[in-house]
């Protein structure tokens, strides 16, 4: 027996105590063996489920012991020296056998000398028990028995399997490995599925869409002639379809946390959809996985990088970005780099680097230093938020490298056209600029303005408000509040005069919420006025030279007269004050007492900020604005203005001379058009000329920096070639050099899970020591090596899988003795499709699907009021009424704070962080979505229309067969026909009797779609069939 040393953790023991301990051990071993014996019988009786594990074959360290040590010991006796207790480390052989002063935790073959064994066998109330009671962990009897057998058989450690390069024997196929594991569990593999089931399954899996009835017929015919050739050519056809990339991009974009918005406060949209298209195209082109990797991580660093290679680097620009006012730029940047390191670790290595951000990893062999070595690779890109100059109280600007995308020749031509017009306008402007006009303007500017208040004769508004004309001729709004409303005031003047300018005053009042001048909110008493229009005696009058008491950032008063309803004038934060805006008429108008001025004030801001009180007046002269004009006046009064003063005067003239201002306005409009036509952009990675120095951040805190580190890769993995550049490109090349034991395994495992619903390693996101052991380790390695040896050919590996007998099995659950959850694949998996495939499949079945590819994100139907967040540049949902409404789910705009709600109900993530695997739930909200979401209701109507159009015969049975072939690629069964025929009969009768109900039903379902079928009673009845079929389990399930 070892002597107990005097180290604090273990305490000092006398000889007597030592002897007691020995007695204790013997007692316990005896008790334990008794327990093991009864346990043995219990296990024998319990179930055959764990047949393999119970078998008395040799202990496998990785399978049997590592999980126990990782879970229970390594937290305090692991790789992290900071938290290591008693200087003991149990994650390595050397650590476990280290001399702790005359004794060791582990002595091979010697149970009694192994301190570890003694400690785990102590009573629950013993202070020395391991794991200690306060850890809230405890070993089960089975686990203790495994430890006993392991120590007795030599206590040998093995390296964690995932960190050792895969190996394989030549000559086997996927089916061989599945058969082998099935045999070990006395499982009999299922028969092949029916041909119709095979084509539906393969179509949904490979392209994410069901076969058309024509494709089904062609396949069944070919299959009856030569099943193998027909099936192989089906798989090849599907793999070559452009729909393939759209279906498989979803998984990758979850990993890439691709979204169209920043995340966090306000969650504004940004453009990186070109990256989404790049992924779709790369998958369609079967870009080798090594190149796929390199271009996304470091496409910008490749020599002579192409446009596409730069777009690919959008992978790491998809990271979230907080532009919230008050954000510290460096903190935001650090968070982004952290995300890039962690995501890279998860996606390519299947390990969780982030534990090592604050301390050495507790379980896996990654040190904190290594974490920051990885960090160094990503630490050399520019910051991505900046504080708008001179402003601390508004959201920051979203900056960082982006790139223009090429444009079509038509767009280029349009842009050139506008450039030419702009040039002409500028020339014209120059011509108008005469000396006499300038002098006249100066004289007018010197005159004192005398505003005449207009008398309100009539007032109306479209929002249903009431109003009161006050004694001062201002209009006070009352009663109902509507966000979208037009005010229309008809007015006259008491004294005839020439009108050169008009003024709108927006006034406060005690009766307004928070005193106004807006009436939408009592705290933020803002208003947003979008357009101001003036007519005199029925003639529209053009206005220029907008000036205001104050304009809110991005809501300049000039927005009132630009003809664009989306721009407008607002005054935050200058609440609870009177405001004014003035405009010049391009042509002065003579007003008589009978002249009718009509002023229209348009409010179009959905947030609801309307004017509470206003008044209008006119002027024969040039209106003065505030500070600027005071200065101008003083210049005008000077005999000899200085050069800089003259310059100021000129600038003011160009802006406000009626003659010139019209040209200025035209120029601005063209300028705006030109901007609207500017090329689309996409976010890219870009290395700074000079990189940053990377330092370890203590406890992960960016303000608490420690030692400097250089870029480098973790020691547990094969070393990086020193010839490779020490940047992202070198890192990417190292990942896919074929020697990394993780990269290929992690990739093929994800593809396997996408097809079979569960990975060979169930923890797709973690291949570390805490991962689930693979169900078919040899198969995993076979696939991984196949991937590398085929030149990283994804479609080649997928083709192997799709052609396997394992994949082609029937999915019916036969009365299974073992393996109810089907981990060992003695039948084909059957599981619910993910959100995008549910939508795409239903669109295809309804016949509405548009296969238009690429481009800006789409906005199909979505309920109102989903997008409502505060902040600058808040995006708006504009429901598509064209074919964009019916495009595939992959193109729907992904806004992190509020993703597309029907997809959320089917477990779509918010893409705020890398998602390796989506949950697969089954909830009443999903039922409500399929039953009632107007998008699916519209599809049900279109599906009904399609059935009625495509069926060869008008008989109900024929129509039902058509429906089933479209929806499920099979004939309807007699019981199904019987039930649905009854439904049809009842519904047709009902709608024939009540044609209004039929009309109402059809109208209720068609938001945009217009059905073709001419008999409303029939159409309404079959809408019910459409609604029923779209809700069947089979519709949302891959079988």
């Amino acid at each position: 027996m070892p002597l107990i040393p005097a180290i604090p953790h273990f305490g000092i023991l006398s000889q007597e105590e030592r002897l007691n301990r020995v007695r204790n051990i013997l007692n316990r071993v005896h008790k334990f063996l008794n327990r093991v014996q009864s346990l043995f019988w219990a296990v024998c009786l319990s179930s055959a489920l764990d047949a393999a594990a119970e078998d008395e074959k040799a202990i496998d360290f990785n399978r049997d012991i590592r999980p126990i040590i990782s879970e229970n010991c390594v937290h305090c006796h692991g790789p992290d020296p900071e938290t290591r207790d008693a200087g003991l480390r149990l994650d390595t052989q050397a650590g476990a056998m280290e001399d702790l002063g005359g004794y060791q935790a582990l002595v091979p073959h010697d149970l009694e000398s192994s301190e570890m064994w003694y400690r785990i066998m102590l009573d629950a109330d013993d202070d020395e028990l391991m794991p200690p009671a306060d850890s809230k962990r405890a070993l089960t009897a089975e686990q203790k028995d495994l430890v006993r057998r392991w120590i007795e058989s030599g206590g040998e450690y093995q390296e964690h399997w995932a960190f050792v390069a895969p190996e394989r024997e030549a000559g086997h196929t996927i089916d061989h490995f599945i058969q082998k594991q099935a045999d070990a569990r006395q499982l009999t593999l299922a028969e092949r599925a029916k041909a119709s089931a095979q084509i539906r399954r393969a179509s949904l899996d490979i392209i994410g869409l069901p076969p058309t009835p024509e494709e089904l017929d062609d396949f069944l015919l070919a299959y009856s002639q030569d099943a193998e050739a027909a099936y192989a050519s089906l798989v090849d056809r599907l793999l070559a379809s452009p729909r393939f990339g759209e279906r498989w991009a979803r998984q990758w974009l979850d990993l890439a946390r691709y979204a169209d918005s920043n995340g966090f406060q306000a969650d504004q949209l940004r453009d990186s959809w070109a990256y989404r298209d790049w992924v779709i195209d790369a998958l369609n082109d079967n870009m080798p996985y090594d190149r796929f990797t390199i271009e996304q991580l470091a496409g910008d660093l490749l020599p002579d990088a192409t446009l596409e290679q730069k777009i690919a680097t959008g992978f790491h620009r998809t990271v979230t970005c907080n532009v919230e006012a008050g954000v510290h730029v460096e903190q935001n940047r650090t968070n982004q780099v952290v995300d890039r390191v962690n995501t890279t670790g998860t996606v390519w290595l299947g390990v969780t680097m982030e534990c090592a951000q604050c301390h050495d990893h507790k379980y896996d062999p990654f040190t904190m230093r290594e974490y920051y070595q990885m960090f160094a690779y990503f630490n050399n890109t520019p910051v991505e938020v900046s504080v708008p100059s001179g402003k601390t109280d508004v959201s920051h600007d979203f900056v960082g490298p982006f790139m223009d995308l090429p444009q079509s020749p038509e767009l280029v031509a349009q842009r050139e056209q506008i450039a030419a017009e702009l040039k002409a306008v500028r020339a014209e402007k120059k011509k108008l600029d005469t000396k006499s006009a300038y002098t006249e303007w100066q004289q007018q500017m010197r005159a004192e303005p005398e505003w005449q208040t207009c008398q309100v004769q009539a007032f109306e508004s479209t929002g249903g408000e009431t109003s009161e004309v006050l004694a001062d001729q201002s209009v006070l709004m009352k009663g109902k509040f509507s966000a979208i409303t037009d005010y229309r005031a008809t007015m006259t003047v008491e004294t005839p005069q020439l009108a050169r300018a008009i003024r709108l005053e927006v006034l406060t009042h005690d009766q307004l919420p928070g005193q106004g001048p807006g009436r939408g909110d009592e705290t933020r008493t803002n208003f947003v006025l979008n357009e101001l229009e003036l007519e005199i005696d029925g003639q529209p009058v053009e206005l220029v030279d907008a000036k205001a008491s104050f304009s809110q950032n991005k809501y300049d008063v000039s927005g009132l007269i630009d003809g664009d309803i989306s721009s407008g004038w607002a005054i935050a934060p200058e609440y609870r004050k009177d405001h004014w805006a003035t405009f010049q008429l391009t042509e002065p108008v003579e007003l008589s007492k009978d002249s009718q001025l009509q002023v229209v004030l348009r409010h179009a801001y959905k947030g609801g900020r309307t004017i509470g009180r206003f008044r209008v007046s006119v002027l024969d002269g040039i209106p003065k604005s505030s500070d600027m004009d005071a200065e101008l006046l003083s210049i005008l009064k000077k005999q000899k203005p200085s050069k800089s003063e003259q310059k100021k005067l000129r600038a003011a003239y160009e802006k406000s001379s009626p003659a010139l201002a019209a040209m200025v306005k035209k120029e601005a409009q063209l300028d705006k058009k030109q901007k609207a036509l500017k090329p689309d952009q996409t976010l890219v990675m870009q290395e700074m000329d000079e990189g940053r120095m990377t330092r370890i951040m203590k406890r992960g805190n960016y303000l608490d920096q420690g030692d400097e580190v250089q870029a480098g890769t973790p020691a547990v993995l094969p070393a990086i070639d020193p010839e490779l550049p020490a940047n992202r490109l070198g890192l990417a090349q190292w990942l896919v050099n074929g020697e990394n034991p993780l990269v290929a395994r992690v990739a093929v495992n994800r593809w396997w899970a996408e097809i079979f619903g569960r990975g060979i390693v169930a923890t797709l996101e973690d291949f570390g020591t805490q991962s689930e052991p693979p169900t078919h380790p040899e198969l995993l390695d076979w696939l991984a090596i196949e991937l590398v040896e085929s030149g990283w050919d994804m479609k080649h590996v997928l083709r192997h899988i799709f052609l396997s007998e394992t994949y082609r099995q029937d999915s019916r659950v036969v009365d299974s003795q073992v393996d109810p959850p089907n981990h060992f694949l003695a039948r084909a998996p059957r599981f619910r499709l993910e959100a995008e495939r549910i939508r795409d499949n239903a669109l295809a079945v309804s016949g509405l699907l548009s296969t238009k590819m690429h481009g800006r994100p789409i906005m199909p139907y979505q309920p109102d009021n989903i997008w409502r967040q505060v902040g600058r540049n808040e995006p708006k949902w504009i429901e598509a009424k064209d074919e964009n409404r019916w495009r595939r789910g992959i193109y729907i705009v992904y806004r992190r704070a509020a993703p597309y709600p029907s997809m959320v109900n089917f477990d779509a993530p918010d893409r705020g962080a890398c998602t390796v695997e989506r949950p697969r739930t089954n909830t009443p909200l999903q039922a409500l979505t399929m039953l009632n979401d107007p998008a699916y209701v519209e599809m049900a109507l279109a599906f009904a229309d399609r059935i009625l159009t495509e069926s060869d015969s008008p008989s109900v049975a024929a129509r039902l067969h058509t429906a089933y072939r479209i929806a499920f690629s099979r004939e309807a069964l007699p019981a199904e026909i019987e039930h649905l025929s009854e439904v049809v009969a009842e519904r047709v009768e009902h709608f024939t009797k009540d044609p209004t109900a039929a009309q109402k039903t059809i109208a209720g379902a068609s938001r945009v779609y217009q059905a073709q079928h001419s008999d409303p009673a029939e159409l309404a009845a079959w809408f019910y069939i459409g609604n029923i079929l779209l809700n069947l389990d089979e519709m949302v399930t891959k079988s």
Binding site: E765, D864, A898, N905, N922, T929, I1002
Partner: protein, 479 residues
């Protein structure tokens, strides 16, 4: 069917009947992983770990962060030194969201409108801006030494509600749903009610992170369908909807017979539940049958979208067995004009919150319902903008403040009339018995019968929990 398979199915059915949507725990993959994790560590069972003090929770989050210094944490010394330059250590080297120049201290105005009053037997000092709350002071248990780690809204909201400042972690409500489910399987475990715009953290504030999505909060909306897609298409009656659901289930049963996949059985029961929800949810949301006296007390109005209505709805949900009701109220981010803005907001929330507490008490629900009032952080004792001298009402505001702030709890298991911890005399940092967000969350979980260290979920190779590796239950606030 073999006994093993039957056993498997019945376990599945067990999960199916433990809560709304949990039928969902269809979790082919998640389910397996959970059961394996559980067998590896027998102590890591989900669910109740001890006798709960409260069965329900109504968690009121004031989005934007109210000025606790002007509501609950009275600082006479700050009033005295109002207008003086703040001590160097309040500014130098500190992270502040907006303040960029050394600011002045700013106390609560001395005007009676803003004065603090000793209330009830407990003598809690509560601002006159919350007169109704003053009336229930003895029910409240304050924590005046809470501190957090984030000083911008969205990260701080994520931090306080998910224990992590970035995206991807489950919210406290989803942890509770995951841990202890609900009493009513016709309603979600975790319901969210918003007044005003959605907070910056977005849906992630009630998201389920890596937990199964059945545990995420379900927003009940005050405009349109209370639950998305609840109402039938125009022209389809309730009876007609029922016949569609019956047909769907009949055809699905045929499939179940021939295929034998238990997932189909789950789907059938979920369609039944969806149909039941189509009447149970609108019933729940319809407050028109509440008495006029009740509406008067809350300041609510049937059909309106308001915080007052949400308080009343919260009580109705608790009555129906909803486990976790979360209220978010937007509009508390008073960077300027705090003394004008704060009264406008307190006027909206004071009466309904007090009404909720009284109403719960009268119905015998307060003992088993934990009411929490909190925010993502507090506000600075320093002025943002020019602070004036205290004679004239300042137009300045207060910046975000993470070092110390005040929250309160009431009801199930907490000591009414008690106050725990304190900030320093100027309200800058947590001086006595600091409570970290992780401690606060651990305490909430504890009151609900959950040991925050034992409710874990295995993800990416480690056991994750709401409180990361931190958190101590604040025993002193518990009865």
């Amino acid at each position: 069917m073999s006994p093993q398979y039957k056993n498997y199915l019945s376990r599945r059915l067990f999960f199916q009947h433990t809560g709304f949507g949990l039928g969902g725990a269809a979790l082919a993959s998640v389910f397996d992983r959970e059961s394996q994790a559980a067998s590896a560590d027998p102590l890591q069972k989900r669910g109740l770990h001890h006798q709960p003090k409260a069965e329900h929770i109504i968690y009121i989050h004031m989005v934007g962060a109210p000025s606790h210094l002007d509501l609950f944490d009275y600082k006479p010394e700050l009033q005295k030194r109002s207008g003086q330059l703040c001590p160097d250590e309040f500014f130098a080297g500190k992270q502040l969201a907006f303040i960029r120049e050394q600011p002045n201290l700013m106390g609560t105005p001395k005007d009676d409108k803003y004065a603090f009053k000793h209330c009830g037997q407990s003598g809690h000092q509560i601002s006159n801006l919350m007169p109704h709350l003053q009336g229930v002071a003895d029910e409240l248990c304050f924590i005046k030494s809470l501190h957090t780690e984030q000083f911008n809204h969205a990260p701080a909201q994520l931090f306080s509600l998910t224990g992590f400042e970035r995206f991807g972690r489950p919210s406290i409500g989803s942890w509770v749903s995951y841990g202890i489910g609900s009493h009513n399987r016709n309603l979600p475990d975790f319901v969210v009610l918003n007044s005003g715009q959605i907070l910056g953290a977005g849906n992630s504030a009630w998201g389920s992170g890596f937990l199964p999505t059945v545990h995420q909060g379900i927003e009940f909306r005050s405009k349109g369908d209370p639950v998305l897609f609840l109402s039938n298409p125009d022209g389809m009656s309730d009876r007609e909807r029922k016949s569609v659901v019956d047909s769907v289930n009949k055809l699905n049963s045929l499939q179940l017979d021939s295929i034998g996949d238990p997932e189909i059985a789950t789907r059938i029961s979920q369609y039944e539940m969806a149909y039941r929800m189509q009447s149970s949810v609108p019933e729940l949301m319809d407050t028109s049958r509440e008495s006029a006296a009740t509406h008067e007390r809350y300041g609510s109005e049937p059909g309106a979208a308001s915080f007052a209505n949400n308080c009343l709805l919260a009580r109705r949900m608790v009555e129906k067995g909803v486990r976790f009701v979360q209220l978010f109220d937007q509009g508390w981010d008073h960077h300027n004009g705090v003394f004008n803005a704060l009264p406008r907001k307190t006027q909206q929330v004071d009466q309904p919150i007090a009404a909720l507490i009284k109403d719960l008490k009268e119905r015998g629900l307060l003992d088993k319902t934990l009411v929490v009032w909190g925010a993502e952080f507090g506000r600075t004792p320093m002025a943002q903008g020019s602070s004036g001298t205290g004679e004239k009402l300042s137009s300045a505001g207060r910046d975000h403040h993470k070092e110390a702030y005040t929250v309160w709890m009431a009801g199930g298991g907490v000591k009414g009339g008690h106050s725990y911890g304190s900030s320093d005399e100027l309200g800058y940092s947590a001086a006595d018995k600091p409570v970290h967000i992780h401690d606060f969350n651990a305490t909430i979980m504890h009151l609900l019968g959950i040991d925050h260290e034992r409710l874990t979920f295995r993800y990416q190779g480690r056991q994750f929990r709401l409180t990361d590796v931190h958190g101590h239950v604040v025993q002193d606030v518990i009865t």
